[in-house]
Each structure stands twice: as C-alpha cells, then as structure tokens.
Symmetry: C2
Subunit: 315 residues, 2 copies
C-alpha cells in the first residue's frame, strides 16, 4: 500500500541552538525553521518534514518531533554534526546578535522528497538557499499552494536565484526589513506593491511584536500581534507563524482551486483566518525556549487563545 | 440668549513649529496639540478650544482654525509671543530631536473656561502640566467623559500631580514609552493593567505607525495603524488621533450614561469605532505639514478612508 501523503511538506533547517536573552539562557535547544514550522502546522494538518540532521541528533529530539505526529520520512540523518546556531538577544528583545553559526551537515544539504510527499498539496519552503528551494519545487506535482520564506543573506548573495523562484510561488513571506531590502522601498505598502510585481499572488510581511500584513493585488489585511505578556525567547516565532498559517490553510484546502489563482471571497477569508492562527501559534512559541511551549499545548489551548484574540481585534 | 456649548472642550498648547524631516522642512507651521486635536475632532462634533497665543498669532492662523468651525471663545491672545517649537526627524521618522523650545506666552498659561464651556459633556486635557489640567477639570460641571494626555516631562517632574489627576479621569492616553515609564513595566499589557489600577476606566496606548490599544479592566482592543504610503510630517499625529477619537465619541454620546462607569456593549463598540476614526484622522494629519491635510479634507474623505481601513482590519 502506498503510504498516505502529508497535507503539507515543509523544507528548511534543523538545528541545535544556544540562546541567551537578558533574563535566561538555554544550550542545545532543538531549533531550526522546520522544528517550529512543523510543530505549529501540526495543530491543524499532517506535516512532512524535509531536513537534515547529524549523527548527534538525539532520540529525545526525534521523539519531541514525533509527538506532534510529524511525518519524518523526509528527515535525513547524515554523517557529521547537526547545524548549530548561537545567538544573544539584547534588552527588550529588539536586537538579535549571532555569536556563531556552524553549518555542519547542513552545508551539503540537498533536499530530496520521499515519493509520497510529491503529491502533497501544500508546500512551505522555509529559509534555505533559493537554489535548494527551487530544487524542491521541481520535485512536487502541481501543488495547490507554495509559500516561500527567505532572509537578507539570500537577498544579498543569491538575488537572481531568489527572483527566479518567487515568480513561481503563491505566497512570499518576509519580515519588514527584508521587504524593504528586497524592494528598495521604505514604506511597506509601496514595498509590497513592488514585490507583488515580481510574481507572487500574495505577500505576507511579518513585523514581529507589531503584527503582520497580508497583501494581494486587490486587498490589504492588517493584523496586530497577540500581546504576549511574558516573552522568554523570540527565536522561531516567524517559523511558528508560518507553520500555523499554512497548517490552518491546508485544513481548509477545499476552499481553493488547484492553482490558488482564483481565490474567491471564502478563500480570502480563510487566508485571514490562517493569519490569526499563525499569530496564535507564534504567540505560544515565544513563551518558552525551543518548541517547549508548543509541545505542552493542546488544540483546545490554541482555539481558546484564537477566540480571545478574535475578541481583541474585532471592530 | 446663552450661546450654545461646544460638545467637546479641548485644552492644550498652540504653537508655531519649525520642522525638518529627511525629505522636507517647514518654518512657522501652525501647530500645538489643540490645533491638531480640535481640527480632527471637528469632523464629528463641535469643539471649543482653550489655549493661549501671542500677539504675533496671525489672522491667517485664526482663519485656518475658524474654517473647521472651532469655537475660539476660549482662545486667549496674550501680550508677547506664541509658543515656538523646533525639531528634526531622523531617517525613517523613528526619532525626533527637539532643537529648541520657547514657551513665550505659554509659560504663564492659566486656562480659564468661558462660561458656556462648563457644561460641555466631553473634555480632552491635552498635554500640559497636570496642575493646569486639574485646574480645568475643576471648572467643568459633571462632564460625561474626560480624557487626559501627558508626556515624559510630567511623569518625571510632576508625578504626584499626575497621579492625583488620573484618579479622576475616564481615559488616560499615552504612547508606549510613556506607558512603560509611568508603570515601570516593559510589557504593554502588564503596563496597562498597572495603569488601570491608578484610576482611569480606560487606557489607550498609542504606538505610532504600529497602531494603538484600548484597554479596560474587562477588555483589550488592538488596532493597527492605517498604512500611510507617504508620510510628510508625523508632528501632531497623536493629537489628531485623540481629536478624531473624542470627536467621534461625542457624536455618539447618547450611548453613554452620565458617568461612563457603566458602559454597555454599545458604548464599547462606539469606543472601538472611535479608535478607528482617530486612526484615520491621524493618518491624514501626517500626510502634510501642520494641519494642512486636515484643512483640505472633506467628511467624505474621512468616511471613505475609514471604510477602506475597516476592510483592511476585518477578520
């Protein structure tokens, strides 16, 4: 029997992080974009992970991921060590300084999709080199929805690869400084309009504690962040947002036609709801180091906070 | 015949500003909190201004204010010169540096209300010394709604006066850094909860381009800012927000009981709508120097942008 395909495939980095904030520190925290994104997505839809880890990737870490019901058949364990990142947050979490980056096995990562992933309808290309993101896109059969994240490094060093890729995706996800950097425009609405001309049907600009914007040619949707009282570690918030977003969207996939090109009012409403759920999974992620808070969470917790948030933003 | 009372009384500063931004500069711009607040409020309700200007206050400036239908019987023209402020905005408008402040006639300002203002149901005490704000409060007869703004200077130099005053007001209006400063808490929700314990029924925290929050003991309302593409001068945005807010509220005053202490669901909804209109009048104010953009505006422009904004924030 052919094993069932996951609803979402997420490709990105898997890492061990050493993180210090003004108030606490943690070493060897399970991190990387796929950890946060798959964990968050799993509250809504079944997720397949495409990533690489080293021989030092512990059974405990594997079990943490498995408990979310994540399909790990796309996770490759390679000879060598897992990607390691170390960073420190300054006062008020407004600035993050990277202390060290050791790519290790991630340096020669060449993502290959298990056969059953190729027909998955939703694909999230988290932040890796645009050429690798393109390589993944070539392996999927007519996905309904492809979302791509990137970072300043690729805007600087692989701009033409990135521009070629985003021509073909449905949604480009960036933070505010990346949107300004890639577009060359300071004002976010101007930046967004320029970026939409590069090809994507939708754009999400993440503004951290200040919320997020969803922009299409026809519409702008503005959403504040959920006001988290006790931020422990902002690492992974953007990936947890992305995971919750695409997870919710995949759970409502019947609202979309096969190409997303003709999203009707119901699909637009689903995109807005997906932003809300992404905001909520991100708000939980920052309440602990690593994916610890997401691990302790029930779907009821997610729904309760989403309802609370909806009351806060209802006009 | 007793002249009719204005629906709102606003007391604050009247000034001539010299403003420089990275892109443009203006000298002798009509400014001060009452200019922006009364102009914005006037789109919704009749507003009486309590302020002082010097003998150099030109007829042209008076006419600018009169064209909004502002009642100027509370404006005193004193011997001497009008308050002058000069400041410069740094790149991206994120920091404002004051170059000079000449209080002039404002130094000996002692606000006295014309008799007909004393029964006005809405009162906005814009940013002046807390002792003067208290002096104004003593002159009004049982207003339905008193809103007070302040600044870091008074938190530092007149804290006990300020604390005494805010015990008696319905709504305290602050920006995010002032809320942190006055409460001693970094997280805004924690800050807000502490500030509500000081007495006000409602708190609004203004976050500039990142929107605003309305907090009461029972509720939190989060609203993004309207995304202005072409900011010319952010001076007065907070006052234009406050004016639009209280102007709209005064236009729906029948939703409130005489003390605002038992605001029902309809009143809460009106407060949220008032935040939307405050956001819109502020978004126009920053599109030009001084109150120029507000002067050129029609009620239809305000309503059109409010409708556009509502579509952007609708979940």
């Amino acid at each position: 029997m052919m094993p069932s395909k996951p609803e979402i495939v997420i490709v990105g980095s898997l890492a061990f992080d050493d993180v210090a904030t003004p108030f606490a520190a943690r070493k060897n925290a399970l991190g990387g974009s796929v950890s946060f994104a798959c964990a968050a997505a799993s509250f809504f839809s079944r997720c397949g992970m495409v990533a690489v880890a080293g021989a030092d990737f512990s059974r405990a870490s594997l079990n943490k991921l498995k408990r979310f019901g994540i399909d790990l058949s796309g996770l490759k364990i390679a000879k060598g060590k897992t990607f390691r990142w170390s960073g420190v947050y300054e006062k008020d979490f407004n600035n993050r300084r990277t202390l060290s980056t050791k790519l290790n096995v991630f340096e020669s990562f060449r993502p290959e999709l298990p056969a059953k992933y190729r027909r998955s309808p939703f694909l999230f290309l988290a932040n890796i080199a645009p050429a690798l993101q393109a390589h993944v896109m070539e392996q999927v059969d007519a996905p309904r929805f492809v979302m791509v994240d990137t970072m300043d490094l690729w805007i600087n060093t692989a701009r033409s690869d990135l521009l070629k890729l985003i021509k073909k995706v449905d949604l480009l996800l960036l933070n505010d400084s990346e949107a300004r950097h890639l577009s060359g425009a300071h004002h976010l609405v101007t930046a967004a309009r320029r970026l939409l001309k590069l090809g994507p049907r939708y754009l999400i600009i993440k503004k951290g504690e200040h919320g997020s914007m969803l922009i299409s040619r026809e519409n702008i949707f503005l959403l504040p962040a959920f006001p988290v009282d006790n931020v422990i570690d902002p690492t992974g918030a953007g990936d947890a947002f992305a995971g919750g977003f695409i997870g919710y969207l995949a759970a409502r996939k019947n609202l979309f036609d096969s190409t997303m090109r003709k999203a009707g009012p119901q699909a637009l409403s689903a995109l807005r709801q997906a932003m809300i759920y992404g905001t909520i999974t991100a708000s939980f992620a920052v309440e602990a180091f690593s994916i610890d808070r997401l691990s302790a969470l029930t779907p009821r917790d997610v729904n309760m906070r989403a309802a609370e948030f909806l009351r806060m933003v209802k006009t």
